[in-house]
Amino acid sequence: MSQSRPFRLPKGGRLIDRAYQLPFRFDGRHLRGLEGDTLASALLANGQLMMGRSFKYHRPRGPVASGAEEPNALFGLGQGGRFEPNQRATTTALVQGMILRSQNCWPSLDADVGEINNWLSPMLPAGFYYKTFIHPRPFWKHLFEPIIRRSAGLGRAPTDPDPDRYEQAYDFADVVVVGGGIAGLKAALAAAKGRRRVLVLEQSPNWGGRTPVDHKGGEAEIEALLAELRAKKTVTLRRNTMATGLYDHGYLLAREALADHDPNAGIPRQRLWRIRAGQVITATGALERPLAFSGNDVPGVMLASAVRDFIVDYGVALGQRVVVVTNNDDAYRTALVAADAGLEVAAVLDARVQAEGELVQAVRARNIPVLTNTAIAKVKGSRQVEGVSICDQSGDGHVTGGIDCDVVAMSGGWSPVVHLWSHCGGKLIWDEAQAMFRPDPDRPPLGADGKGNVTAVGAAAGDLRAAGDLERDEGQTQPVWVMPAQAPYKLRAKMWLDYQNDVKVTDVELAAREGYASVEHTKRYTTLGMATDQGKVSNINGLAILSKALDQPIPATGTTTFRPPYTPLTLGTIAADARGDAFQPLRKTPMHDWHARNGAHWEPVGLWRRAYAYPKGGEDVHAAVAREVLAVRNSVGLLDASTLGKILVKGPDAGRFLDMIYTGMMSSLPVGKCRYGLVCSENGFLSDDGVVARLSDDTWLCHTTTGGADRIHAHMEDWLQCEWWDWQVYTANATEQYAQVAVAGPKARELLQRLPGTIDVSPEALPFMAWAEGELAGIPARIYRISFSGELSFELAVPAGRGLELWEALHQAGRDLGVTAYGTEAMHILRAEKGYIMIGDESDGTVIPQDLGLGWAISKKKPDYIGKRAQARSHMIDGNRWRLVGLESLDGRMIPDGAYAVDAGENANGQKKMQGRVTSTYHSPTLNRPIAMGLVRHGPERMGQVIDFPTPSGETIRARIVDPVFYDKEGGRLNG
């Protein structure tokens, strides 16, 4: 037969508008489609049949389906940041100016070098990749792996940021109907009773499913149903919305396409709906199965339903002369539609011995030859169908004749779309009569009440004749898994199951021979169903072949697992608005903008951003940190400490409660005083620390670390609500109510005294570890005389809304004192110089307070506190724990943070034994030398000993064990 091409029919096409032409580009060529076209229909209308290359053998491929199951016609779409790989031509609407790029071919779709794999196919059977692991060994690393890695992957990943906007939204409905075909619309109407809210989701832009194509009067019936539904206020109809996954408790995700067709509309491109559904009705229809005959992947071989979809919906014919091959009556519709469209139908080849249904009779009445017990032995042509050789279905492929044609419309029967049903635990049964897996109505997904919360209806439930009165009498489908039934190896090796991944009948048979009895293992070994179409057209045929090879019934083989999403979701839709500035909430203190204006180098602390240092002029960060440390030591510095947790604890039992929460005694703290406290977990490990102030007889204010605020508040509420529910204690997390400023340095008091106010900060009125409240610079304030730097220090707490005002007033008043804002790094160094521990540096969840020499903060008088029992366990008290010491580098080099000190000998694994590690290490600007703290076995008893810290570079840094307090051991500076 001479070369022919697909073409646009002179009339017809219910979804296109011939008045509006849309120009687009395909691999550099300028083409035109029509309003309403998909990419597939537009390309076919332009005579373009080949739309891709297969993954492994790079065989030429045309579209085989017309919907979401299409495995072949995938394109890279768009340019730059909008480039998207693997876009399905059959479900992507054509947009004016669209730019399409073919995939998996080089240098071009027509002349693809990779096609050589096709001739090498005998050397690339199922599992060949895994076999390269085994033998010969060097080949894998040096030959196969680099080549496979380069050729793997379908389509290219985009490299630029996606310029489009995406969003999510929540919805709630009593009933969600998935699928806007006739079964779904009827189910929605039945469900819309009383005040029940019904949501109907349809993945395509068009309502009706197959009914308008397959049935006379179908379109009118759908319109009537829609009109009735639209009149109901309780019913919401959403098109372009694909239900991607169903999860526990009726949680349904769906993707609505909003601006796929118009990226420049300024609105979100897609929206992910997060729906809570009381009941879900799956009316997801069924997918037609291919038949496995030799050459069933040659462009021009298409599912029978798709052939008539293209004719009816888009007025596009795949070719001039059609052969239909089938095992059921439904495919006869394609013969009728093709004949009505003026195409020549050469024959219907029916694998069944008998074909007598109404549709068959209608075809015979048109004088179209119907050949029963007839199969395709082989498709002629490589880049395009040129004809078929035919044979007996029951035989071994002995050719009995040939038919010239350019279209083969095949139908191997239908498989219900059971994905949503299966996502959440619904079970399937094998329906022998219809040769399909369908939902088992007795074993649906269960809701919280233990009752089924999903119902399948229509074709999705196995009822292939869901259109009611519109249906005609049909004969029974005959299962045909291999065509012809006794096909020899040579034919079976060219029968494609998974088109995208090039899995053939012989591959599955090979897997069975090699011992792959489980369908899940066979899937991975052969890659059957692992491509972007997730086996929508291939799975049932594949597992039928596997069952035959294993000589067991199909239900004994079962299906692979159905996992969301139903069709691929772009990552942008999942991330939605969480990008750029909205990626994560950024917590800002009341002085945040001041820090930004003053050149803060930021440090993330949880979700907070804190100023690490404030480099000035040409200063680098290290120089800024050193300057800030020295300012605190020599004059006065200001730290924004607003992020510290502040938890109010009040009630008659508050003292008793805090005695349990903290290792120390808080109930005995006098009003007006502060005490340092440690919080441990039940297992005794140090969890948090901070200063507790007693505000009144029954009220305490507990400061936590920045990261501990929410955690310790939750810890307190956990114990109060679950264990000590009868204790009269209320807590409140007041962290963000206050701005807090540490004023530290020998001139701190002088600075505070310069501000007008009512609080006496003299040593007599406000001694170390006392607090007072009143007014400062016209702002209501509380002043705590506490120090985390070892210097004379005050922490000022004011309402957050006035924090910046106080901060600026302090800078103003202290200008001539050299007042200096200092950041978190200076704060860390100041505390390390004093040997103060830092939660998260000296503690890591395995450290108890006793390890850190903090026994003084543990009350010996109390009968109990959280962690007390655990701290008495043998391993906690055996004297062999690593304990806190200072470390002094012998040669002036800094010991790297986290470095381990080696011990003599080796452990059972032949590794060097360890005896300690570094927990904090800094260059001390005050002492102008490195300082470090660490945990060392028997450390405090080994003062003066030298231990070795090997570094990754191979060098070893030697350090002397010293007291962890490097500066002002007497503590005199606390008093200025």
Binding site: R165, E167, Q168, A169, Y170, D171, F172, R197, T236, L237, R238, R239, N240, L258, A265, G266, I267, P268, R274, R276, D577, A578, D581, A582, Q584, P585, L586, R587, K588, T589, P590, L607, W608, L648, K650, G651, P652, Q728, Y730, T731, A732, A734, T735, E736, Q737, Y738, P799, A800, G801, R802
Partner: protein, 172 residues
Amino acid sequence: MAEALATVARVDGLGMILIRADLARAGDAIAEAAGLAIPEPTRIVSDGSRSLGWMSPDELLLILPAGEVAAALADLQQALVGEHALVADVSDLRAVFDLTGAKPDQVLSKLCPVDFGAFPKDGLRRTRAAQTAVAFWRQGKGFRVIGMRSTADYLGLILQNAAIPGSDLDPR
């Protein structure tokens, strides 16, 4: 160009007082001191100037003009003398936004897992907006949204993003 689904405006000048107490025992005293009835669970009562919201079985939030906070604190503390209760000024702890315009519920529907079809007229909902904690209630024909002070910029941004013109949730 279509209009934004709602106008997002930061609100200043509000005071807030946290009240924790046994509402069954101390409810009458609190109601008298606050000048408002105790709300039913998950509801809020308002007299146009002050509002009293139910936050948890033993927690209320009084929202009032900032200038009235000091006096209200004193009144509440006085009313709860002898009662186990916690009353605290939390006026600076939160950020407040008002949503007004055509479809403020749709803006919140994009951020909060809340069924607005079942949200009562006098409801107060504590939930999250995307990744930050919020609460909201109806204010006129729109909504008043409160979030944490530290994440106010984030909350303002996601509210604005959810309100962009043309992005309504109506079926299309």
